[in-house]
C-alpha cells in the first residue's frame, strides 16, 4: 500500500476518437471532462487519454479482475449529429456502481447503520461493546443479502440479456462482498477464539455453499433416496460441512434399505454421534476437548485399521474423512468447490482447536493443496488468504482494487476502525485510511444526482478533511428549486458554513432578481445578511418607484421588521415607505418629521433628495402649517446643499425642469416660512 501501483489501467472513452485526434481533459472533484481537440496525433502510439491519478489509491477504472474498463460516457453534450467535429464533450465518471438503481437501497439502508454506529460511540465497554459491533456487522451483511436478493429478482425478471448480465455480475460481486465481510466479522470483529472459531468458520462455509440444499431436496424427493445416484454425494457434503445430524439421518435410510450391513452403519453412526465438538459456552476447557477428541480419534483409527468398513468404499472414505485424512478429503474436491471449504473441513477433522494465529499456515497449505498448481489463485482467493493471515490492510487494499465500488471498503474499514484495529496505521498522504476511504465513497455519492444527501453525513464523520470536502462539494450542488436550496442551506447552517450559506443565498437572490422577483430576492439577501445585495435590491425598488410612482411588493416592505437594519438603503426604503403610509393616513406632522430626518440624518442617498423635497411640496401647500420654522430652515438648507452640489454636473441636462422644480420649492418654502412665522408669532403672542 505504501508504493504506487505499477500501471494505471487504460480507460477507453466510447465515442471519442483518440486514434486520430488528441484529447484534452479537465479534472473535476468526481468526474473528468474529455473532448477531442482539433489537433491530430503526432505519432502512431497507442492512445492514452487519461494520465494516472495523483494519489496512489485512486484507480481509474478500478478494474483488474471482473470488471474491465469502467469509464462511463454519461452524457454527450454538443452536436449529436455524429459528424466528426470536436464539439463533443464527454463526461467520464468513476464509481459507475453508484448509478445502479438497486444498489441505491444498499447505500441508503447502510447509511442508517453507519450513522447508528457513529452514534453508539463507546458508551459500552468490553463484551457488550463487542456484541454491539458484531450486531452492526450482521446488519450490514443482511443489507447486502437483501440487496442481493433484489438484484437476483431483477436479473430473473428482466428480458434484456445485457441487463441480465449486468445484474448477474452484480449478484456475484455482492455475494463475494458478503463472503469476505462474513469472514472479516469472524476473524476481526468478533475475534473468535480457539474452539468457537471453528464453529463460526463452519457456519461461514455452510452459509456460502448453498447448492447442497437443492441436491438434498432432489435426493429426498426421489422414491428410494438411498438408490439415488447423488445419495453418497449428499452424505459426503454433510460430513464435509460437519452437519453430522443430517448425515446420520440420511445414513439411517440407507441402513434400513440395506439390512445386511446394519452393523457397519451402527458403528459409523455411533462414531459420528460421539464426535466431540467445541461448544460456545464455557462449560468445557480446550484441554478437555482435546482429550476427548484424541480419544475419539483413536477409536476411529481402530475401526479403520481392523477393516470394519472395508466392504463399503463409501463408508470407508467417510471414516477416513473423520480421521482428517487429507487425501480422502481432497478426493471430494468437486463437492467442496473451493479451497476455503477444504480448509475448514480439514481443520474440523484434524485441528478442531485451531488458534486464530495458526490459521495462516493451514490456509496457505490448503490453498496450495487444493489448487495443486493447476490454476492460479483469483483475486477473491487472495483477499480471503489475506484475511486468514490477519493482514487487514491487505484485505482492504485488494478489495479496493478488485471491487467496483467504494461502498464495501469504506464501511468495512470504518467498522474495523471502531473495533480499534486500524489505529496504528497512517497513510503517507491525507489522514488515516478510514477517513480516506470514507472521503472517496462520499465523494462518489456527491457526484450522483440524488445521493448527495447521504454523502453529507459521511463527511461529517471524517474529522480531518471532511469539512473541506463538504465545503467544496456542497457548492456544486445544482439548486433547481427553492426547496432544494433550503435543504442545502440547512445542511450548511447546521455546520456553521457561513461562506457557503452566503453563496447559496446569493445565487438564489440573483436568480430571483433575474426573474424580476424583487421580494424573493430581498428575502434571500436578508437571510444571508448580505448588506451589499440588499442595497442593490433596495435601489431597484426605489428606481421602480421613481418610474412608476408606486411601490411594488408592499406586503414585504411593510413587513420588514428588524431586518430593515441590514443595510442603510434598506432602512431608507423601509422608512420612506413608512412616510408614504403616514401620508396616506393623513398623519402629516409625523410624516413631515420623518421626511426631514431622512435627509438630515443622511439616511437617504443624495440622489434621492430631490424626490424627497418634491414629496415635501404637498405638505408645504397644505392649508394647515405643518413644518415649523426651524424645520423649514432645515429644508431650505437641504435644498441649497443639493443645488450647490449639483450645480456643476447637472446644469446641462434637464435644465429647465430642474430649475422649475427648484424655483417652485423655493417659493413654497418661502410661503411656508411666512405662514409659520405668523403662526408661531401669534401663538407665542397670545
Amino acid at each position: 500500500m505504501d508504493e504506487p501501483d505499477t500501471e494505471p489501467p487504460l480507460v477507453v472513452v466510447p465515442g471519442a476518437d483518440s486514434s486520430s485526434r488528441q484529447l484534452c481533459f479537465a479534472w473535476g472533484p468526481a468526474e473528468v471532462l474529455v473532448c477531442e481537440t482539433l489537433f491530430g496525433r503526432a505519432g502512431g502510439s497507442r492512445s492514452r487519454c487519461l494520465s494516472r491519478s495523483p494519489c496512489p489509491f485512486r484507480f481509474w477504472g478500478k478494474g483488474r479482475a471482473g470488471a474491465a474498463a469502467r469509464a462511463l460516457t454519461d452524457s454527450v453534450a454538443g452536436t449529436e449529429d455524429g459528424a466528426p467535429t470536436s464539439s463533443r464533450v464527454f463526461v467520464v465518471r468513476r464509481d459507475q456502481d453508484i448509478y445502479i438503481q438497486t444498489l441505491r437501497k444498499l447505500f441508503n439502508e447502510s447509511h442508517g447503520i453507519f450513522m447508528g454506529l457513529q452514534r453508539s460511540e463507546e458508551e459500552l465497554a468490553g463484551k457488550s461493546r463487542k456484541a454491539q459491533l458484531v450486531q452492526v456487522s450482521k446488519n450490514y451483511r443482511s443489507v447486502i443479502r437483501a440487496c442481493m436478493e433484489d438484484m437476483h429478482q431483477a436479473a430473473v425478471s428482466t428480458r434484456d440479456p445485457a441487463l441480465q448480465a449486468q445484474y448477474s455480475t452484480q449478484v456475484s460481486i455482492l455475494s463475494a462482498m458478503e463472503l469476505i465481510w462474513n469472514l472479516c466479522e469472524i476473524l476481526f470483529v468478533e475475534a473468535a477464539t480457539a474452539g468457537p472459531l471453528l464453529l463460526r468458520l463452519l457456519d461461514w462455509v455452510r452459509l456460502h455453499v448453498c447448492d447442497v440444499d437443492s441436491m438434498v431436496r432432489e435426493v429426498l424427493s426421489s422414491e428410494s433416496p438411498s438408490k439415488h445416484k447423488l445419495f453418497w454425494n449428499v452424505v459426503d457434503i454433510f460430513v464435509l460441512q460437519g452437519r453430522m445430524d443430517e448425515a446420520r439421518h440420511l445414513l439411517s435410510k440407507e441402513a434400513s434399505a440395506n439390512p445386511t450391513s446394519v452393523n457397519m452403519y451402527k458403528i459409523l453412526d455411533d462414531l459420528m454421534k460421539k464426535m466431540p465438538v467445541p461448544s460456545l459456552s464455557n462449560t468445557q476447557t480446550l484441554t478437555e476437548l482435546e482429550l476427548k477428541w484424541q480419544h475419539w480419534h483413536e477409536e476411529c483409527q481402530r475401526y479403520l485399521q481392523d477393516g470394519t468398513f472395508a466392504s463399503n468404499p463409501h463408508m470407508e472414505s467417510i471414516c477416513k474423512i473423520l480421521l482428517g485424512d487429507e487425501d480422502a478429503i481432497l478426493e471430494k474436491k468437486e463437492l467442496m468447490t473451493t479451497w476455503y471449504h477444504f480448509l475448514v473441513t480439514r481443520l474440523l477433522y484434524s485441528h478442531p482447536t485451531v488458534k486464530p494465529m495458526e490459521l495462516r499456515f493451514y490456509a496457505q497449505s490448503s490453498m496450495d493443496l487444493f489448487l495443486g498448481g493447476e490454476s492460479s489463485p483469483e483475486p477473491l482467493d487472495l483477499i480471503l488468504m489475506a484475511a486468514f493471515e490477519f493482514e487487514m490492510h491487505q484485505v482492504i487494499k485488494e478489495c479496493s482494487i478488485v471491487l467496483s465500488n467504494w461502498w464495501f471498503v469504506a464501511h468495512l474499514t470504518d467498522l474495523l476502525d471502531h473495533c480499534k484495529l486500524l489505529q496504528s496505521h497512517n497513510l503517507y498522504f491525507g489522514s488515516n485510511m478510514r477517513e480516506f476511504l470514507l472521503l472517496e465513497y462520499a465523494s462518489g455519492l456527491f457526484s450522483h444526482h440524488s445521493l448527495w444527501q447521504l454523502g453529507v453525513d459521511y463527511f461529517d464523520h471524517c474529522p480531518e478533511y471532511g469539512r473541506v470536502y463538504l465545503e467544496l462539494h456542497i457548492e456544486r450542488i445544482p439548486l433547481s428549486t427553492e426547496q432544494k436550496a433550503l435543504k442545502v442551506l440547512r445542511i450548511c447552517e447546521q455546520r456553521q458554513m457561513h461562506e457557503q450559506v452566503r453563496s447559496i443565498c446569493k445565487i438564489m437572490a440573483m436568480k430571483a432578481l433575474r426573474n424580476n422577483r424583487l421580494g424573493s430576492a430581498l428575502s434571500w439577501s436578508i437571510r444571508a445578511k448580505d448588506a451589499a445585495f440588499a442595497t442593490l435590491i433596495s435601489d431597484r425598488f426605489l428606481k421602480d418607484y421613481c418610474e412608476r410612482g408606486c411601490f411594488s411588493d408592499l406586503d414585504l416592505i411593510d413587513n420588514l421588521g428588524p431586518s430593515m437594519l441590514l443595510s442603510d438603503r434598506l432602512t431608507f426604503l423601509g422608512k420612506y415607505r413608512e412616510f408614504h403610509r403616514l401620508y396616506g393616513e393623513k398623519r402629516f406632522p409625523e410624516a413631515a418629521r420623518l421626511l426631514l430626518t431622512l435627509m438630515t440624518a443622511h439616511i437617504a442617498p443624495c440622489s434621492f433628495w430631490m424626490t424627497l423635497l418634491t414629496d415635501a411640496l404637498p405638505l408645504l401647500e397644505q392649508k394647515e402649517v405643518i413644518f415649523s420654522a426651524e424645520q423649514t430652515y432645515e429644508l431650505m438648507r437641504c435644498l441649497e446643499d443639493l443645488t450647490a452640489g449639483n450645480s456643476d454636473k447637472q446644469k446641462f441636462q434637464d435644465d429647465d425642469i430642474e430649475t422649475t422644480k427648484v424655483e417652485m420649492l423655493r417659493l413654497a418654502l418661502a410661503r411656508n416660512l411666512a405662514r409659520v412665522i405668523i403662526k408661531e408669532g401669534t401663538v407665542e403672542g397670545s
Binding site: S450, L454, T481, Q483, L486, R490, G519, S523
Partner: protein, 373 residues
C-alpha cells in the same frame, strides 16, 4: 413492529392515500408517491398490502408493493387526489398535471396538463417555468401556488385557468389549502398566512396574518376538518403555529417542535384531536390533545419512544377546542416522535383512518397501519 418499510431507490417528496369511497369500511390500501431530485422522477401507485395475508399469487404482502408508475417531468413538489382515480401533481417545471390511475389494468396515464401554469417573466420562453409549490383540490376545482407568487384556479374539465392572480405574493408561496369552498389559505416565505376570497374581484388577500418578529418562512398549512377557524402552520424553524382566523392577526399559540423545517402538517381527517407533523430533521411527531393524561391510559407509550408533555401558552379563548384551550390543568398535549433514529428528512406524510404513510430522503416509504392500536 407494526410499521412496514420499503426502500424504493428514489427520494420521496410526497405520499398520499387514495381517498376512500363514501361507504367504505376497510382501512385504506392504495397510496401514491412522487419523487424529487432524481434524473428520472416518477409518480407511483402502491398497495400497502394486507398484514400477514397472502396475495392472489401466493406472495406475502407484508410490505408495500408497486402497482404501477409513470415518469414525471421535474420534481414532484406537491400532489393531491382529485377523486378516486385522478391525482393532481405539481411540478418544479411549473406544470400541473392530472394523472389517471386505471384500476382495472393498473396503469397510469396523463389525463390533462397545464403547461407552465407557473412561470417567471414570460410564459412563452423555453425556460421560464417557476416551480409550482402547492396544489389543493376540491373536485372539480384545483388551486395551485408557486415560486412566482402566482395563484391559479383551475377546473378539472377546463383547458384554461378560471382565475389567475398574478403577483399575489411578492415572496414565494409555499402551500395552499381550502378554507371554505370559495376561500383559500396560503402561506409564504415571509411568515404570512393569507386568506383569499375568489368571490372578490380584487386581486388582494381578504385578510393577512403574520408571525411577529423574525418573519420565519412558513412551509405548510392545514385547516381543522370540523372547526374551520382553526388553522395549523409549520415553519422553517420547525415551530408549529395554531391560528384562530376569526380574530387577531397573530397565532394563538406557538409550539416548539422540530429542529428544522416542518415540511407538512396534517390534522387527522376524522379525529382532529390528533395532528401529525414531519420535518427536515428526520422526525415525525404525533400531537395528541384527546388524552386527559390522568384518566386515559396512553396507547402511545411504546418501547423506546420519547414522549413529552408540553403545556402551551395561549391567548384567551372561549372556544371548546383542545387546540385553542388555555386551561393549564387540562391543557396537556401528548407528543410522540414516531421515528426515533431517522437522520434524513421526512418530506411528506398522510393520515387516513388508522393508517399513516410517510416518505423520506433516505429513499424509503413507511406504512403504519395501526396508528391507534
Amino acid at each position: 413492529e407494526d410499521v412496514s418499510a420499503k426502500f424504493v431507490s428514489q427520494k420521496i417528496s410526497r405520499t398520499r392515500w387514495r381517498p376512500l369511497p363514501a361507504a367504505a369500511l376497510q382501512p385504506p390500501d392504495i397510496f401514491a408517491t412522487g419523487s424529487w431530485d432524481n434524473e428520472d422522477n416518477r409518480i407511483s401507485i402502491w398497495s400497502a398490502g394486507d398484514l400477514g395475508n397472502a396475495g392472489l399469487n401466493g406472495e406475502y404482502h407484508g410490505e408495500p408493493h408497486l402497482l404501477c408508475d409513470i415518469q414525471h417531468n421535474g420534481d414532484v413538489m406537491d400532489m393531491q387526489f382529485l377523486d378516486q382515480e385522478r391525482i393532481v401533481v405539481a411540478s418544479s417545471t411549473g406544470t400541473v398535471t392530472i394523472f389517471r390511475h386505471h384500476q382495472n389494468n393498473q396503469t397510469l396515464s396523463a389525463n390533462h396538463r397545464w403547461e407552465k401554469a407557473h412561470y417567471h417573466v414570460d410564459q412563452d420562453t423555453s425556460c421560464g417555468g417557476a416551480a409550482c409549490t402547492g396544489v389543493v383540490c376540491n373536485n372539480p376545482e384545483i388551486v395551485t401556488v408557486g415560486e412566482d407568487g402566482r395563484i391559479n384556479l383551475f377546473r378539472a374539465d377546463q383547458k384554461d385557468a378560471v382565475r389567475t392572480i398574478d403577483n399575489a405574493d411578492s415572496s414565494t408561496l409555499h402551500a395552499v389549502t381550502f378554507l371554505r369552498t370559495t376561500e383559500i389559505l396560503t402561506v409564504n416565505s415571509i411568515g404570512q398566512l393569507k386568506i383569499w376570497d375568489f368571490r372578490q374581484q380584487r386581486n388582494e388577500p381578504s385578510q393577512i396574518f403574520s408571525l411577529a418578529g423574525d418573519r420565519v418562512p412558513l412551509h405548510c398549512v392545514d385547516r381543522h376538518p370540523n372547526q374551520q377557524h382553526i388553522v395549523a402552520t409549520g415553519g422553517q424553524d420547525g415551530m408549529l403555529s395554531i391560528w384562530d382566523i376569526r380574530q387577531g392577526t397573530m397565532p394563538v399559540s406557538l409550539l416548539n417542535a422540530h429542529e428544522a423545517e416542518m415540511w407538512e402538517v396534517h390534522f387527522h381527517p376524522s379525529d382532529p384531536d390528533h395532528l401529525f407533523t414531519c420535518s427536515e430533521d428526520g422526525s415525525l411527531w404525533h400531537w395528541d390533545t384527546s388524552t386527559n393524561v390522568s384518566e386515559k391510559p396512553s396507547f402511545l407509550h411504546q418501547g423506546g419512544r420519547s414522549t413529552a408533555y408540553l403545556s402551551h401558552s395561549t391567548i384567551n379563548q372561549s372556544v371548546v377546542s383542545a387546540w385553542l384551550s388555555n386551561d393549564p390543568t387540562k391543557d396537556r398535549m401528548e407528543i410522540t416522535n414516531l421515528i426515533p433514529n431517522q437522520t434524513l428528512s421526512v418530506n411528506s406524510l398522510d393520515v387516513l383512518g388508522p393508517c399513516l404513510v410517510y416518505g423520506t430522503d433516505a429513499e424509503a416509504i413507511y406504512v403504519n397501519r395501526q396508528l391507534f392500536a
